[in-house]
Symmetry: C2
Subunit: 427 residues, 2 copies
């Protein structure tokens, strides 16, 4: 322990580095590395022209520009909150959404963190998809909550194993420590899976079954990638099934389909939960940047956001196709690949004897070849006594131009080959 | 308890509303109210022209503009972090400051919160000035830390009572739960006090005395208002006394002397602490807005920030003088007022039989007269068995134009009169 480290709180002592920090730093610090890892968005299509025009217009207006540079409300700008409420309702919700249920955060990430902190004491339980968004696993580690993973198929988390897990928790007397079921309902990170409407209904039925028995928990519907759909049909929010509005919270963001540099995301929270999240946010920063929120507001009101969403459909469809083609060209044929309909990720499953983790021959070969990927081990929650697959990887086609992605895949194909040779020669 | 509130964490259950939320909302929601309460900055002098020009220039540059709209590093933009390090060194620090000790946050508020969360478990102790920044008291409430207040005079926290308090903690065996000494070293919120250099030395001596006995804790030097100096001499950071760099963290912000809407602040942390704060920030939001940071970076590099600091000296000197004049005109002569040399606040002490709290005749009379102030009771930490003064108020001259401040003081003077009449007629 460093001098003074005895001063640290239990929370700080127990918190490990987010793997994303390492991967982001490796990308930004070393321009020679091709990152198929970091979840940045496409650089070229970022809405620079829209933003320039919005800001130029905004600063024509004396009052409005000064308001944008001043403090604002902790909950965020009212017009964005209303837009979000109307957007959610437009899925055919049974009841109108009160904009007071909507909070603007510094990305949806901040609201995922705060919600979890508002519900979980150390040792409380959160159920996640296995694999899931590894940054959220970091949040759980930080807060000291226990993550439990439920297997998935191509339609999302499996309802039957969820039910079995809940029954096991009921039996062991731990079910009242279960606080959250965390689901990424659209183009899941890392697998790119969309939860089908039928699966949403099945999962909701399981949730309801336990609710009726007096065991309640919050469903956190992370819909960050919804607006990055480039194929297939649009599916309503799972929260539509929750007629009460009290048991599913929705999370969305303007980072993915507009600009991460705005750090603007939102949550639509149950009425009972919103004041607690707001209080916590007040303590964190008393409100996100008024300037970037004002830009987002104008982008929504002027239709720039909607236009950008349409642009991105073409951009990401082409980039996803390019990546799938490159994988076909450079990867061994026994690598299984999904076919995403939206989002930023391709999930590659290698044969079980090809581990991809940080210490694996493959990861080292990839670093040697100057290419980065996200090892699947980051994305599975580690549970004692349960073995998790460790031979997959998350790749993203999002940030880099197509020719660089192509070159990255060539390097990665080479790294796979090299690591297999080293494994077979070691064997 | 609401339906589902049993799901809340200990932290959420124990957290009360920040008084600032009520005051900010009352200001923004009801334009008829004149707020001498909310700590907003002067609206008219906000750097709209600088910001417009910076953004226009930035968006001429294809690469730079896209980087500003992309994700960045959790720690913040390197050029700002270097600027902060050089700025601190320029106070004549014995050793150079490593920019890796500097973290950019969503205002310094976020970094005050995260640092405190990294050090304090529930029940741990934080010593503060009495009165202190009430938002920080909210942070302590949120985290479940116990605040203990040390009296102050016109040169800052008194060293002797601090020593006595530490001795008492030593005796009671609680001193190892003391994690933080929180000091606002410049134009303190709410009293406007500057801690004199001699007092900084005295306080540091007390800290050292206990350090030598093996009782260590972090000094958090909140220097948010330093750049809003409009009279008197500039005093070096107290952290200059900490040759090791291991025991004083400094907090600063671009909110007060540039624009709160940027939500950009910084902390210069001891080396042993920085990685823990960074991890936590990674979990909260993996970095503050790259766009607003880029604007701040350009403002620093082009000298706009320094120019704005100079402008504000004139603005706030005039506004402070205006407020003092108005107080003289409208308040009873037995109201004691300080004479601030910087910052945003004037502190008024009424006679002890004139309470100013939320339920007082005066607060109600003020609301009736459509004027808001911060009651002193918000600013004193509440400790069992220790009576705290409750007949002062914090006023700010910052946000409103001088004529509105003048009218606000007229209303407040009337409210003081009315409340005294009601008290004397009730007696």
């Amino acid at each position: 322990m460093q001098p003074n480290e005895k001063l640290l709180s239990t929370r700080a002592k127990g918190t490990v580095d987010q793997p994303i920090t390492f991967l982001m730093k490796a990308t930004l610090d070393n321009p020679e590395n091709i990152s198929l890892a970091a979840g940045f968005v496409d650089q070229e299509s970022l809405p620079a022209d829209f933003t320039r025009d919005i800001v130029a217009d905004l600063f024509e207006d004396h009052e409005a520009s000064r308001s944008a540079l001043q403090y604002g409300l902790t909950s965020g700008l009212a017009p964005i909150r209303k837009w979000v409420a109307r957007r959610i309702e437009s899925d055919g919700f049974a009841n109108p959404i009160d904009p007071d249920r909507v909070v603007i955060g510094s990305g949806s990430q901040q609201l995922l963190f705060i919600t979890t902190d508002c519900l979980c004491d150390r040792g409380d339980i959160v159920i996640v998809e296995d694999p899931t968004y590894f940054v959220y696993l970091g949040v759980l580690n930080n807060i000291g909550a226990r993550a439990m993973g439920i297997p998935t198929d191509e339609s999302g988390m499996l309802a039957e194993p969820l039910k079995e897990r809940l029954e096991a928790l009921e039996k062991s007397g731990e079910i009242d420590r279960l606080k959250i079921l965390y689901l990424q309902t659209y183009y899941q990170n890392p697998m790119g899976t969309n939860i089908s409407w039928e699966r949403r209904e099945e999962l909701w039925e399981v949730v309801n079954h336990f609710h009726k028995k007096g065991h309640d928990f919050l469903v956190m519907e992370d819909a960050a990638y919804r607006d990055l759909r480039f194929a297939g049909e649009d599916i309503p929010f799972m929260a539509k099934l929750d007629k009460s509005g009290e048991r599913i919270a929705i999370y969305g963001t303007f980072s993915k389909a507009f600009a991460p540099g705005m750090r603007s995301g939102w949550a639509c929270l149950p009425e009972w939960l919103a004041p607690h999240v707001l209080r916590q946010k007040g303590n964190h920063d008393f409100g996100s940047s008024n300037l970037t929120q004002t830009i987002v507001q104008h982008a929504l009101e002027k239709g720039h956001y909607q236009q950008q969403v349409e642009n991105l459909q073409h951009v990401y469809r082409a980039k996803a196709e390019g990546m799938l083609k490159g994988i076909k060209e450079f990867f061994p044929s026994d690598v299984k690949v999904n076919n995403p309909q939206g989002g930023l990720y391709v999930w590659c499953e290698l044969p079980a004897d090809c581990p991809t983790g940080h210490d694996s021959a493959l990861f080292k070969a990839a670093l040697r070849n100057k290419v980065l990927y996200v090892p699947s081990v980051y994305c599975y929650c580690q549970e004692e006594g349960i073995e998790k697959p460790d031979s997959s990887m998350r790749l993203t086609y999002a940030m880099m131009p197509p020719d660089i992605v192509h070159e990255g895949l060539r390097r990665l194909g080479k790294a796979i080959e090299e690591s297999r040779e080293s494994i077979s020669s070691a064997g």
